[in-house]
Symmetry: C2
Subunit: 282 residues, 2 copies
């Protein structure tokens, strides 16, 4: 995730804002920066929009690969209102920045997608690691890339996702170096957060999952693994986006990295919203 | 679930069979009885088959209501082979008994669906409470209806599922009376089994969830709640079937009650198969 350093004061101004209020500012194009740090305590989400004819296969891909693809909400075809996760919001205008891909190529980056909207578009909201990193920090576990103000390092692994229809590809993981004394706690904390990737998929030896050089991540920035620390690898939300792009759909729209959708779901309610009885976010 | 009392000896003969061997016997129509007790240690599954044009909405319904609708596997349109949960099996022949519904009405009950198969049929395998009851028993928690050789009591509640497309309806729950000392353990044991309904959705006062008379279940058989016991209510797999039937699809095929599909997934691996890294059942 990009961090909008120049927006730091503005971000702090919006840390306590309600999601509804913040989305209205985004909708009126007064906010175009990354969303890390705004509306603290509310879950942010990745966005993937696909035509209906690909939506079933993409949802099956997500169901078959729940760790990299934790679905928070699926909007019905043509519907831009996330009626459960953010009633009254509009998925076409309420993210600060969108990416438009055609046949797998980035074609455009823009601040709304109103004029691109199709009646057959199905929107997927997918869990974001912001919620999960906040829980690690709250548990007293250091998060290196946050400390260093960098993007998390991400790697393509030799773990193949279960394919579904046209969607297939390797799992992408993010890495956080964890002190040996804190590994068990980091597992406990994240295992309880299935809605945002859950427990690590691998801990220790990077080469076992096909990572040749931990200092050369495929995405994001490298971070040092210090003496006494073990690299822990979590399934990463880049996985479904990469799989979708590899399928070269005629059109696909996503958020721009770091420019997320802010839901009405409190982080503390996210697990129950996704894995429990549900209801509508308040 | 019906229990095939007259098949008890036969069931015991098949308790240690491999799923592959048992399915071949079912396929050759030598076994037509309920499946409780066969292939012990392997997960059994509910089956729902729907035409592709309803499949996306049904899967969204399941994703929105994961406690009553825990998806174990989704087969691609027209594909009768559960390539992940039971590679080489055939969903059209490998269940002992099927029900065929047209526009929500039961039309036929039969031992295979080969001649009804359509290229656009999507098959859903949904978690079954057998796995979950075995874990309760293994943890030393009594399961009343099993003790009494009855079907579990099931009730329609006032908890509304989140609708998706044409699919909507109330949550159906099953009830097991649990001694006060064992409630916490029963929650722990089942909370770890998200692939088969997870933790109870309600414990105690039946009237709060719209159950007027605990002695009059809508499905299954009543069981006594003894002194010192609390009724615990779990989301029930009847919910998605009832919601699907209420939508009156042109055609829908399910297993007959108690006549389940035996997967290659060991009960102990079920959570990881469904919620973890997946892979293919071995």
């Amino acid at each position: 995730m990009e961090r909008g350093e120049s927006q730091l004061n503005a971000t702090q101004d919006w840390a306590d804002a309600s999601p509804r209020r913040f989305r209205s500012i985004v909708r009126s194009a007064q906010w175009t920066a990354p969303t890390a740090g705004v509306c603290m305590g509310y879950a942010q989400a990745n966005l993937v929009v696909l035509p209906a004819r690909l939506a079933m296969d993409f949802l099956v891909f997500a169901v078959r690969n729940p760790k990299p693809c934790p679905i928070i909400d699926v909007l019905e075809a043509g519907c831009p209102d996330p009626a459960y996760s953010a009633p009254g919001a509009d998925i076409r205008t309420d993210l600060p920045r969108y990416r438009v891909y055609r046949r797998g190529q980035l074609e455009d980056e823009r601040s709304d997608i109103v004029d691109l909207w199709q009646d057959d578009f199905v929107s997927f909201l997918i869990g974001c690691s912001f919620s999960f990193e906040k829980s690690l920090l709250d548990a007293g576990i250091p998060v290196r890339h946050v400390e260093l103000g960098r993007n998390v390092p991400m790697y393509i692994t030799n773990i193949q996702c279960r394919p579904a229809g046209v969607f297939r590809g390797p799992m992408v993981v993010s890495m956080r170096p964890i002190p040996g004394r804190a590994i068990a706690r980091a597992v406990e904390v994240t295992a309880a957060m299935r809605a945002v990737h859950g427990a690590p998929v691998h801990i220790g030896s990077p080469e076992v999952i096909g990572i040749a050089d931990i200092d050369c991540p495929e995405f994001g920035d490298p971070v040092p693994v210090n003496e006494g620390e073990i690299p822990a690898f979590w399934a990463c939300g880049v996985t479904p986006q990469a799989a979708a792009l590899a399928a070269k759909p005629e059109i696909m729209i996503t958020h721009s990295p770091g420019h997320m959708f802010i839901t009405d779901i409190r982080d503390r309610d996210l697990h129950d919203f996704v894995c429990g009885l549900g209801g509508t976010a308040k």
